[in-house]
């Protein structure tokens, strides 16, 4: 059966309608901040309204629109374990106006959150298969919930393999998780960096160089990938050469977004709104959309 991105159980404005106005965010409080890399922080958030917090749930691959009060709104993917109900985490790179302002926030500060938005990784649909996760830089953030969820339900999946690339060893996100995952017997973790330092003893080069070091069962495996557009592009080319079917390569797209509910028009890839119909697509879906430029 052809694999497609999964429809989420909850979607802001569609199935989830806490207030009448879907543009007005819910207030959340920052409980913890973790420095991931020199320009990346992970924020642990919980909703101020406890009743809303209890009803709030999301699936790996979905995202929220975060309002940094006084700066604006930006789309950020969930990065924590979806089974954790009391809080959720967002990993934010200091890049634009809103994310810069977010980096200046401290524990106890408030932000606005609208979500969950978008669709999700087809985790239920790929049960029993090998899962290959290819990720670069901060692209690990939207995949981390998927990995954590799979690890909680490990026996439902066959082989699990994570290929992760970063610019330098210092730019690796979730170093504490990578440390834990590298020790696990039930998953394989291969890492690479573009620019090594003196202590780096693993692979050097782009993420696609890891393909030579790992055996993948092309007939059974499904690939989830997220990272810089150039990485996704070359990873896809290599995977297709290895014989992966077009619908077995699943990726999360990034686009400039404003509303998150399919109205503002910024995130369109041809006739598809990434915010409501994405951000997760199979390569096969994207072949019909030339603007995805893959």
């Amino acid at each position: 059966m052809e694999l497609t991105a999964a429809r989420p159980r909850k979607m802001w404005g569609v199935t989830d309608h806490p207030s009448m106005n879907l543009y007005v965010p819910m207030v959340a409080i920052i409980d913890d901040i973790v420095d991931e890399t020199p320009d990346t922080k992970t924020f642990r958030l919980r909703f101020e309204d406890e009743e809303y917090a209890r009803s709030f749930s999301w699936e790996p691959g979905q995202f929220v629109e975060v309002t940094v009060f006084g700066a604006g709104e930006a789309p950020i993917g969930f990065a924590s374990n979806p089974l954790e109900k009391s809080f959720f985490e967002l990993t934010v790179v200091d890049r634009g106006k809103v994310t810069r302002a977010m980096h200046k926030l401290s524990i106890g500060d408030k932000v606005g959150v609208r979500g969950p938005l978008g669709n999700c990784w087809p985790l239920d649909e790929v049960r029993g298969r090998d899962l290959v996760i290819i990720s670069g830089g901060c692209g690990l953030a939207p995949l981390r919930p998927a990995i954590l969820k799979v690890l909680e339900d490990r026996e439902s999946y066959n082989d699990l393999c994570l290929l992760y690339g970063a610019r330098t060893p210092a730019d690796r996100n979730f170093k504490y998780d990578l440390e834990l995952w590298s020790k696990r017997q039930d998953m394989r973790l291969l890492e690479t960096v573009d620019v090594p330092d003196d202590t780096w003893n693993r692979n050097v080069g782009v993420v696609t160089t890891l393909f030579e070091k790992v055996e993948l069962d092309v007939s059974n495996a499904v690939v989830f990938t997220c990272g810089p557009p150039i990485m996704i592009k070359f990873a896809t080319i290599s995977l297709l050469k290895m014989g992966f079917a077009e619908d077995r390569i699943v990726m999360s797209l990034e686009r400039y977004m404003k509303c998150g509910v399919g109205k503002c028009g910024h995130c369109c890839v041809n006739h598809v709104y990434v915010c409501t119909e994405g951000p997760v697509f199979t390569y096969k879906d994207l072949l019909a959309l030339p603007e995805a430029s893959l």
């Binding site: 543009y23 604006g72 990034e254 028009g265």
Partner: protein
């Protein structure tokens, strides 16, 4: 009186009729400004309505989707307080042309599809459209006939008025139109058979007067299948001034951007304002990656949204109502009829075999 009824309103009664309607709602109508330009604006008295106006430069879409719309206010210092600001005055847009009625219907469908936009819905729920038939083309650029959105309508209007000389033929098209008519209903009379005959003559005459060369079918096919060579888009894009007049004057275009405006003392208003896909910043991400980096790709985007089979399937119709505003506004002929013509003719020029087999999109 019922929906679907056709009545007659004497021109001598028009001012009084709309005065009776104005008790309940504000009137938005064509208003003559200094120098003779006509634009849609709120009128204090129905006497100000320029019934004989030709075409307004500026579409009345701003009364449903304002340039700047305050969405909500919040306090950023200390305790966060969020207040909803949405305001939707009851209004009648009087004298609106058929093309603009269809554009508003398009936007209503778009803003209500899948996820409902509360601001647009509140405004459109409170808006009644009194459309005015174009007996002759208001300007030479009009091509509504190619878009099935004028010069007169068969459906979609709340009330449609046709100028029959001394009187208006007054057709009620919806419950909203019926309800708005009630205060002035005593001024309406049943239409006589001659009035219907005259309306038919006006339809036939109008049909023959509008330009019809902006036919879409072949262009839609080439755009939908991505068979238009990139060099044609780049050639078109190379002349674009990036002024965004095309999208700002387009009565169909809906794209907006969102900003947080400081109001002093820690207060901010989140407001949305019109945006244009013709700007490079429309798709540029924080990482500086731009999925639509070239002028050509942005012109292609505009026409893909206006005239592709994929969007027709989404929206039910193509995203152009043939109002001709882009034709008047664009300095470099990147308007709908000219670009469609260029696309229709791009195939023989390059003589490339079609990439997509027939029947497959």
């Amino acid at each position: 009186m019922n929906v679907g009824d056709t009545l007659v309103l004497k021109k001598s009664d028009v001012t009084m009729f709309f005065a009776s309607i104005a008790h309940d709602m504000r009137l938005v109508a064509p208003k003559r400004r200094f120098g003779g330009d006509v634009i849609f604006d709120v009128v204090e008295s129905p006497k100000e309505i320029a019934w004989d106006y030709g075409h307004d430069v500026y579409p009345p879409k701003r009364f449903l989707l304002p340039h700047y719309e305050d969405m909500f206010r919040y306090q950023a210092n200390g305790d966060v307080r969020i207040e909803d600001l949405g305001e939707a005055p009851k209004q009648a847009i009087v004298g609106i042309r058929s093309c603009d009625v269809m554009a508003i219907r398009f936007q209503e469908k778009f803003f209500a599809s899948q996820i409902v936009d509360p601001y647009y819905k509140a405004r459109s729920d409170n808006t009644v459209l009194f459309s005015l038939v174009c007996n002759k083309p208001p300007k030479k650029e009009c091509f509504c006939i190619c878009c099935d959105s004028g010069p007169y309508l068969d459906a979609g209007f709340d009330v449609e008025m046709t100028d029959l000389g001394d009187e208006y033929l007054y057709r009620i098209g919806s419950e909203k139109g019926l309800k708005a008519t009630e205060p002035g209903a005593f001024m309406l009379e049943p239409a006589k058979p001659e009035a219907f005959a005259q309306r038919k003559r006006i339809e036939l005459q109008a049909d023959s007067l509008f330009r019809t060369e902006a036919y879409f079918a072949k262009a839609i096919m080439f755009i939908s299948t991505n068979d238009v060579p990139d060099k044609v888009w780049e050639e078109l894009g190379s002349t674009c001034f990036r002024c965004a007049a095309c999208t700002n004057l387009c009565p169909v275009c809906t794209c907006y951007t969102v900003d947080d405006r400081p109001e002093g003392e820690g207060a901010f208003v989140r407001c949305r304002s019109w945006d244009s896909c013709q700007f490079a910043g429309f798709t540029r991400e924080a990482s500086d990656h731009n999925p639509r980096p070239t002028f050509g790709s942005r012109v292609q985007r505009r026409f893909y949204h206006k005239a592709s089979y994929q969007y027709i399937m989404r929206d039910g119709t193509h995203g152009c109502v043939g109002c001709g505003r882009c034709v008047s506004a664009c300095l470099t002929k990147l308007d709908v009829p000219s670009v469609l013509k260029r696309i229709r003719r791009s195939m023989p020029e390059y003589l490339e075999p079609r990439k997509t087999p027939a029947g497959e999109v």
